[in-house]
């Protein structure tokens, strides 16, 4: 599966987080750092789980990633992360899960690059 995106396309937005931060940029920077430290690793773990056919584990990891994806409004993978969570838990449509996990992982890493750049981290 190919992932189509323009190099300059912004994959996330900070609207929800800015509302919470109420002008506190330190808080946003701290969250950005948490993203870089944890989310790509969790995503990689989820890809491995789908490769190994460990659907329940993949579902739990998708569940964990979901709130970050939602709060950063990474809309290109909002539906996909839910499919991995639900189908993994129910062990259905498993043939698609590997591909979906790779797609999610790719976007998550792209978002990480953009965050690094945007926050100069």
């Amino acid at each position: 599966m190919e992932i189509f995106m323009e190099p300059a396309e912004k994959l996330y937005d900070l609207n929800q987080l800015e509302e919470i931060a109420a002008g506190n940029n330190d808080f946003l920077t701290a969250l950005a750092q948490i993203y870089l430290n944890t989310i790509p690793d969790t995503s990689a773990e989820m890809v491995e789980a789908t490769q190994a056919g460990e659907w329940a584990k993949a579902s739990k990891l998708a569940h964990k990633l979901k709130s970050t994806i939602d709060s950063l409004n990474v809309h290109s993978i909002v539906k996909d992360i839910r499919s991995i969570e639900v189908d993994g838990k129910n062990k259905v449509n498993t043939e698609n899960l590997k591909t979906l996990a790779i797609k999610v992982d790719t976007v998550i890493n792209k978002v990480a690059e953009q965050i690094k750049r945007d926050f100069s981290l």
Binding site: L17, A21, A30, H63, K64, K66, S67, S71, E85
Partner: protein
């Protein structure tokens, strides 16, 4: 009450991103102390700190939400728990709420606002509960025998002893005494010192409720039971469930209603007006009256069977004039309270003022004394309350008739009548007090020179 600044919120969440978001958001309220934990184990090691609220991620890696909720409730039952779950699962939510969770919030974009509001509501709830506890303690202190009823006279000490007996069991108590002697205060003191003290004390003044409405007031009614019954309403018996129902002025109850009350007390059940359903009741009954119920039984205006059903432990409150020096002790108590409540310097009674109080018969009893003292505190400019500041009804004052010109015989009649009024028409007591023969007084009664009935004695004093 706990300092509101120490309101402790623990966030238990393995998703560092989400917990950091919650931590930051909730800490916008400077009153909260926030602490976050990423495992059940690390959280449990700090549960002894008894947080006010825990936000609990339902899917933790080392323990499921169900099990952790159970442990929280066992170790710190006062802690409120808000479950935060990634999925909306009504069945799971209901199950957790049944097991003691206080709220269930789904992780969506509104979650932070829902959580914010949920914590505010829980905090208000906790504060209200603490306020209720404080008030309960205050009420208990207020109605402690020694604080509620003041006096050292042997007659009032006997009342204390009876009240103490009344607190130990559920026996029905009948309180008698003249108006203003503190019958309701006694009823409340018994309730607030009994095992039922944390439940309702419901007082009903039977003389103040129109005859037609009394049944519905006591037993409740169903919607449409009568014109104006627009909804179901529980009555005083149900309102006082497991607590105490105080039926004041029971002597004023209509004879037909007496039969219904008797049935309720005998069967320990009531039927709401307009219903066939029997409702079991568990209430402690305290009744009060200023009337002589036995006399009413003899006259046929009070049912004998009800009389014996409510008699229980009888407590007779003596009139103030029978309580010797208590009048000065109570006066001092009222003076101190009034001055404290109104930021006035403490006052004392002059010797003449004390004499005036001791010489007054106080037909209105403690209630009258309070009103006399409150007014005196206002009228007295200085620290000392003088006799002139005490506004008491003149027909009860010795000094009043002593000032009038009269023959010795007229003085004797008035003097004996005054003492008969003062000692509740107890001829033997008056004879002892005045050191005259009881036959002298009986002869005066026979000759209609003095009277042993308040109404006639007042009338006689007006006529003279």
């Amino acid at each position: 009450m706990k300092n509101p600044k120490t309101f402790k919120v623990f966030i238990v969440e393995d998703d560092l991103w989400y917990s950091s978001m919650l931590e930051y958001y909730l800490s916008l309220n400077p009153d909260y102390f926030i602490q976050k934990f990423d495992t059940a184990k690390s959280f449990l090691s700090r549960l002894h700190e008894k947080p006010d609220v825990v936000t609990l991620d339902y899917s933790l890696p080392d323990m499921n939400g169900d099990k952790l909720l159970k442990q929280i409730k066992e170790t710190s039952p006062e802690t409120k728990v808000i479950i935060i779950s990634g999925q909306e699962n009504v069945k799971v939510a209901l199950d957790l709420l049944k097991k003691g969770a206080n709220d269930y919030i789904v992780k969506d974009e509104d979650a932070k606002d829902k959580l914010w509001n949920a914590i505010i509501n829980l905090r208000e709830n906790i504060q209200l509960k603490q306020e209720i506890e404080t008030l309960k303690e205050e009420v208990s202190r207020k109605y402690d025998f020694s604080n509620a009823i003041i006096g050292n006279s042997p007659v009032i000490q006997r009342v204390f002893s009876m009240m103490e007996k009344a607190t130990r069991t559920n026996i029905t108590v009948s309180v008698t005494g003249e108006t203003g002697t503190g019958k309701e205060l006694v009823a409340k003191s018994i309730h607030y010192n009994s095992p039922r003290k944390n439940l309702a004390f419901v007082a009903v003044n039977l003389a103040a409720i129109p005859r037609d409405l009394l049944e519905s007031e006591l037993f409740g009614h169903e919607k449409g039971a009568f014109t104006g019954a627009i909804s179901r309403r529980i009555g005083k018996f149900e309102e006082a469930s497991k607590g105490t129902l105080f039926l004041d002025e029971i002597g004023e109850m209509d004879i037909n209603m007496q039969a219904k009350l008797l049935r309720a007390l005998q069967e320990k059940e009531i039927v709401r007006v307009g219903s066939n359903e029997v409702v079991k009741i568990d209430v402690r009954i305290i009744v009060a009256t200023h009337r002589n119920l036995l006399e009413m039984v003899k006259n046929g205006t009070f049912r004998e069977d009800l009389y014996y059903r409510i008699l229980g432990l009888p407590i007779h409150l003596p009139a103030l004039r029978e309580r010797e020096n208590d009048v000065l002790v109570i006066a001092k108590h009222f003076m101190d309270n009034f001055c404290k409540e109104n930021n006035l310097p403490r006052k004392n009674l002059s010797t003449e003022a004390k004499k005036k109080l001791m010489g007054h018969a106080f037909p209105g009893n403690v209630r009258e004394l309070k009103s006399v003292i409150d007014l005196a505190c206002v009228m007295a400019e200085d620290k000392e309350i003088e006799a002139e500041h005490l506004n008491v009804m003149s027909q009860n004052m010795i000094s009043d008739f002593m000032l009038k010109e009269a023959t010795l015989k007229e003085f004797t009649i008035k003097f004996i009548q005054f003492h008969l009024d003062k000692y509740n028409y107890d001829v033997l007591k008056v004879a002892r007090k005045l050191d005259v023969g009881k036959s002298t007084i009986y002869r005066m009664i026979q000759n209609k020179e003095v009277f042993v009935n308040k109404k006639f004695s007042f009338e006689a004093s007006f006529m003279n």
